[in-house]
C-alpha cells in the first residue's frame, strides 16, 4: 500500500428515503482526499450532512454508491463485520457528545476501544494516553465525576487507543465550555501530529477552523446540499 493518501472519497452518493418514498440526497461527493498525517477542518452549518459524512467515512453508515478508501482499503466493499473490525483498528472517532460509557471508569473507557480490535491489547497505552491528556489522577473516575473538559479528553484518548490512521472529530468542542475549547483542539491536533494520524475535524465554529492550514467548506465538497437547497 504505497498510497500516500489516508482517505480518498470518489463519487460518494447517499440519499435518505423519506416516509413518503421520496429520496432526499444528503451526500454527493465527487472527490475528497486527505493525505497521510494531514489535518483538515470541514466547516458547515448544522444539518448539512457533516455527521453523515463522518459516519460514511468510518463505515458506520453505508453509502448508496461510490468509493471510500481508508489507508488504501476500499471499505464500501467490506462486509459489515470486517468494516467494524477495520474501524476498530484504523479509525479514531471523537463525538460531539463525547459518548463515554457511564458505567466505566476513565481508563476503562479508553481500554474499551481496544476490546473490539480482535488482537492487540495494550493496557499500558491506555494509561499513557490519559497521562498525556493530563488525567493520570483521574483513571478510576467514572465520567459523571469528571468535568466536561476532562470527559472530552478521555474521549480523545479513547479515539487514539488503537493507533488509528485516521481520526474523525465531530464538533469536539460544541459541548465544552469556551475556556476549555482551545485546550481540546490543541490536544487533538498535537496528539494526531505526535502519532502521525490524519485528522478530519468537523465544526461550525470559525475560531476553530481558522487555526487549520486546510479548511474545506462542506458545501464545496458535498454537492447534494447545493442541489437540495
Amino acid at each position: 500500500m504505497s498510497d500516500s493518501r489516508t482517505l480518498l472519497l470518489q463519487d460518494v452518493k447517499k440519499a435518505f428515503v423519506e416516509p413518503g418514498g421520496e429520496k432526499l440526497p444528503v451526500l454527493d461527493i465527487p472527490r475528497f482526499e486527505v493525505a497521510q498525517g494531514e489535518q483538515v477542518v470541514i466547516r458547515g452549518a448544522s444539518g448539512c450532512g457533516k455527521t453523515t459524512l463522518l459516519h460514511a467515512i468510518a463505515g458506520i453508515g453505508r453509502v448508496d454508491s461510490g468509493s471510500i478508501r481508508v489507508d488504501g482499503t476500499e471499505i464500501t466493499r467490506l462486509a459489515e463485520a470486517d468494516r467494524d473490525r477495520f474501524r476498530a483498528r484504523n479509525i479514531g472517532y471523537v463525538f460531539q457528545t463525547f459518548n463515554l460509557l457511564a458505567g466505566f471508569s476513565a481508563l476503562e473507557n479508553v481500554l474499551l476501544g481496544m476490546t473490539f480490535t480482535g488482537g492487540r491489547k495494550e493496557p499500558q497505552r491506555g494509561r499513557e494516553l490519559l497521562d498525556r491528556m493530563g488525567l493520570s489522577h483521574r483513571l478510576t473516575h467514572k465520567p459523571a465525576a469528571l468535568s466536561v473538559g476532562e470527559q472530552q479528553r478521555v474521549a480523545v484518548a479513547r479515539a487514539l487507543a488503537n493507533r488509528p490512521k485516521l481520526m474523525l472529530a465531530d464538533e469536539p468542542t460544541a459541548n465544552v465550555d469556551p475556556g476549555h475549547q482551545q485546550q481540546i483542539i490543541d490536544l487533538i491536533r498535537e496528539s494526531c501530529r505526535a502519532e502521525g494520524v490524519a485528522l478530519v475535524l468537523v465544526t461550525h465554529a470559525a475560531e476553530v477552523a481558522s487555526q487549520f492550514d486546510r479548511v474545506e467548506e462542506l458545501e464545496s465538497i458535498n454537492k447534494a446540499m447545493v442541489t437540495a437547497s
Binding site: G47, D84, Q96, E108, L111
Partner: protein, 603 residues
C-alpha cells in the same frame, strides 16, 4: 477488557434491577434445590427404613399399610395374625428358610406432652440380629446403644429401649420408666395407660423411623392389660370358628409330617356384649364341631413323631358386664373341651411323643373392676396361666392407674402369656439365604392366614405411584418459578435497552461487531442467572440447614446441609439455556441497534 467485564459493568450499572432479578432467580433455584434434596432424603430414608430384612408378614389386607405400620410407624393400625404363625418361622414350616424372624406387636403408643410415639412389642433379636442399613461402602450398619444402655433381655419382661428422637423429645433416659397407652391415640388424647416399662437402652441415631419409636419386650407387651383379650376378641370377630378350623386344616394339608412339628393351636374367643349376645357367639355345637374337626385333622395329617409339642387350646372370653360372664363358657363346655383334647392326644400320639403335657388356658379380661371376680372362677384361675394371684388382686383394685406401683413389677413374678392367647401384628423375616425369600413369599401368600410383602417393593410402588408424581408436580412448580425469574431477567434487560442504546451504538462505533454487542447482552443474562443460581443453591442448602434440627427432631431424618442431590447438576445447563433464551430478545435488540441514529448528533 473482556466482553464479560463489559457485561459485568452494565450489571453493576443497574445494580438494583440486577440484584432483584438475580434474587428472584435465587429464590426459584432455592426452591428447586429444596424439593430435590428433601425428596432425595425422604426417598433414601424410606428405602433405608426397610433394610436388614427381606419380608414383612402380616394380616391379609393393605400391603402398603402393613409396611407403613411396621417399618415407618405410620398409618392406621392393622389386624393381627396368630402367634402360631410367627412360630412357623421359628420352628415351623418356614424355619429352615428363615435366618431371623422378629415379631412385632403394634397398637400401643406413648404420649408425652403433645407428642405421640408408637410402642412396638418385639424381641431383642430386632437389635441383635438385624442391621438397619448399609454404608456407602456396603458395610452393615448395626443398631448401637448410647453409652450406659443395652438391649432389653427376653427374661426381663418389662424392659424396653427407645429411639434417639424419643429421648430428645421426651427426656426419657436409661433407668426411667414409661407407660404405653393402649391403642394409638390422637395427639393430646389420653389413652388407657398400661403398666410401666423400664428404659434400659437408648438407640444411637439411625436416621430410620425407628428413632421415633419405643421398643418393649414382647413378653411384657402380652401381659399388658387388654392385650390378650383384645387380640383374641379380634380373632373371633374376624375369623369366627369356621375359618379357624379351615386354617388349621389347610396347614395340616399343606405341610407334611416334618412341617407339623409345631403343634396346632386353637383359640376360641367369644365376645359377648349384652347378656343375650353371649351364647350365639359360639354355640355349643359349633365348638364341639370345631374342636373335633381340628383334632381329627391333626390326627390324620401328622404322624405321631411329629407331635413333639402337644396341642394347646385357649378359650378366651371377654364379658363387658358381670352378668354376661358365666355364659361365655359353661362349666360343661370347658370340661368337654379338655376331655376331648386329652382324648385325641392320647389316641394319636404315643407315650414318648408327649414330652410336655397339654395346656389349656382360659383368659378373661374384664374392663371394669367389678366384672373381675365373676370373669374368672377360682378354678379357672388355677387352670389358666399360673399367674401370681397377689398381683392380680392388686390389679383388680388399683383400676387403671398403675403409675404408683410401676416398680412393683418384679420380673421374676411374671409368667409369660400362653402362646395360644398371643397374636402378632407383623413379622420381619430375613431369609436364610438370598433367593429363599421368594419361596417364603409365595408360600405365605398362597396360604389363607397371612400375607408377605417386600417392603422395598411397596416403597417403590409408593414412590412410583404417589411420591414420584407429587415430586414431579412440585418440581414443575418450582421450575416454573425459575422460568418466571428468567422472564424477569428478560424484562429487566429489555427495559434497559432503550437507555443503553447509545452505549451499544458507541461500542459499535468503536468497532464492536453486532455479534459482540449481542454477546454482551447474553452474557449479562447468563451472569445474572448463574449468580442467582449459585446464590439459590447456597440459599436452598442454607434453608435446609436451618430447618434441619427441626426436621431431625420431628422425624429423625437428617437432611444434611451439604447433602447435594445429583440432579442439582441439571440446574447448571438448565439455567444456561434459560439465560440464553431470556437474553436472546434484548440481545436481538442490541444486534439491531441503528448505530448512526443512536449515536446522537445531527445527521
Amino acid at each position: 477488557m473482556s466482553l464479560w467485564k463489559i457485561a459485568w459493568r452494565s450489571i453493576q450499572q443497574r445494580a438494583l434491577a440486577s440484584t432483584l432479578t438475580g434474587f428472584s432467580m435465587a429464590l426459584g433455584v432455592a426452591l428447586v434445590v429444596v424439593v430435590l434434596v428433601i425428596h432425595g432424603v425422604v426417598e433414601r430414608h424410606f428405602r433405608q427404613g426397610a433394610q436388614g430384612y427381606h419380608l414383612i408378614v402380616g394380616a391379609k389386607g393393605g400391603k402398603l399399610q402393613l409396611v407403613l405400620n411396621t417399618v415407618y410407624h405410620l398409618s392406621q393400625p392393622i389386624e393381627n395374625i396368630p402367634y402360631s404363625y410367627y412360630k412357623e418361622f421359628v420352628d415351623g414350616q418356614f424355619a429352615s428358610m428363615t435366618l431371623v424372624a422378629v415379631p412385632y406387636c403394634l397398637g400401643d403408643s406413648y404420649v408425652a406432652g403433645d407428642e405421640t410415639f408408637r410402642v412396638v412389642g418385639t424381641t431383642p433379636d430386632l437389635f441383635d440380629k438385624i442391621e438397619y442399613g448399609r454404608t456407602e461402602q456396603g458395610e452393615p450398619m448395626r443398631y448401637e446403644f448410647e453409652p450406659g444402655g443395652r438391649n432389653f433381655v427376653s427374661q426381663h419382661f418389662f424392659e424396653g429401649v427407645i429411639g434417639s428422637v424419643v429421648t430428645a423429645k421426651t427426656g426419657l433416659k436409661v433407668g426411667d420408666t414409661f407407660q404405653p397407652s393402649h391403642d394409638i391415640v390422637e395427639e393430646g388424647e389420653e389413652g388407657h395407660k398400661h403398666d410401666a416399662f423400664k428404659v434400659v437402652g437408648v438407640l444411637e441415631p439411625t436416621g430410620t423411623p425407628n428413632d421415633r419409636a419405643l421398643f418393649i419386650n414382647i413378653e411384657g407387651f402380652y401381659l399388658l392389660e387388654g392385650h390378650a383379650k383384645s387380640h383374641a376378641q379380634s380373632a373371633a370377630q374376624k375369623t369366627g370358628p369356621q375359618p379357624v378350623a379351615q386354617t388349621f386344616l389347610s396347614v395340616q394339608a399343606a405341610g407334611d409330617g416334618d412341617v407339623s412339628t409345631a403343634s396346632p393351636r386353637i383359640s376360641l374367643a367369644s365376645n359377648p356384649t349384652p347378656k343375650q349376645a353371649l351364647s350365639p357367639a359360639l354355640s355349643q355345637r359349633e365348638r364341639e364341631m370345631l374342636v373335633a374337626q381340628t383334632f381329627l385333622s391333626v390326627q390324620e395329617g401328622g404322624d405321631a413323631d411329629s407331635l413333639t409339642t402337644p396341642p394347646r387350646i385357649s378359650l378366651a372370653s371377654s364379658p363387658t358386664t358381670p352378668h354376661a360372664l358365666s355364659p361365655a363358657l359353661s362349666q360343661r363346655e370347658r370340661a368337654m373341651l379338655v376331655a376331648q383334647t386329652f382324648l385325641s392326644v392320647q389316641e394319636g400320639g404315643d407315650a414318648d411323643s408327649l414330652t410336655t403335657p397339654p395346656r389349656i388356658s382360659l383368659a378373661s379380661s374384664p374392663t371394669t373392676p367389678h366384672a373381675l371376680s365373676p370373669a374368672l372362677s377360682q378354678r379357672e384361675r388355677e387352670l389358666i396361666a399360673q399367674a401370681d394371684p397377689a398381683e392380680h388382686a392388686e390389679h383388680d383394685h388399683a383400676g387403671h392407674d398403675h403409675a404408683d406401683h410401676a416398680h412393683a413389677h418384679d420380673h421374676a413374678h411374671h409368667e409369660p402369656l400362653p402362646e395360644a392367647q398371643r397374636e402378632v401384628t407383623s413379622i420381619l423375616v430375613l431369609a436364610s439365604f438370598e433367593g429363599m425369600q421368594q419361596f417364603i413369599y409365595n408360600m405365605v401368600n398362597e396360604g389363607q392366614v397371612a400375607q408377605a410383602v417386600y417392603p422395598s417393593r411397596e416403597v417403590e410402588n409408593l414412590f412410583a405411584g404417589i411420591v414420584g408424581p407429587l415430586r414431579l408436580i412440585l418440581l414443575v412448580l418450582t421450575v416454573m418459578i425459575v422460568v418466571v425469574s428468567g422472564v424477569g431477567i428478560l424484562v429487566s434487560i429489555y427495559n434497559s435497552m432503550s437507555e443503553r442504546r447509545r452505549d451499544i451504538a458507541v461500542m459499535r462505533a468503536l468497532g464492536a461487531r453486532r455479534g459482540m454487542v449481542m454477546s454482551v447482552i447474553m452474557m449479562e443474562s447468563l451472569l445474572i442467572s448463574l449468580a442467582g443460581g449459585i446464590a439459590g443453591v447456597a440459599l436452598g442448602h442454607a434453608a435446609i440447614g436451618l430447618v434441619n434440627p427441626f426436621v431431625v427432631e420431628q422425624t429423625g431424618v437428617s437432611l444434611g446441609f451439604l447433602r447435594f442431590d445429583v440432579q442439582e447438576l441439571i440446574l447448571i445447563p438448565g439455567l444456561m439455556i434459560l439465560a440464553t433464551l431470556a437474553g436472546f430478545l434484548p440481545a436481538m435488540a442490541a444486534y439491531r441497534t441503528d448505530v448512526a441514529r443512536s449515536l446522537g448528533g445531527t445527521p
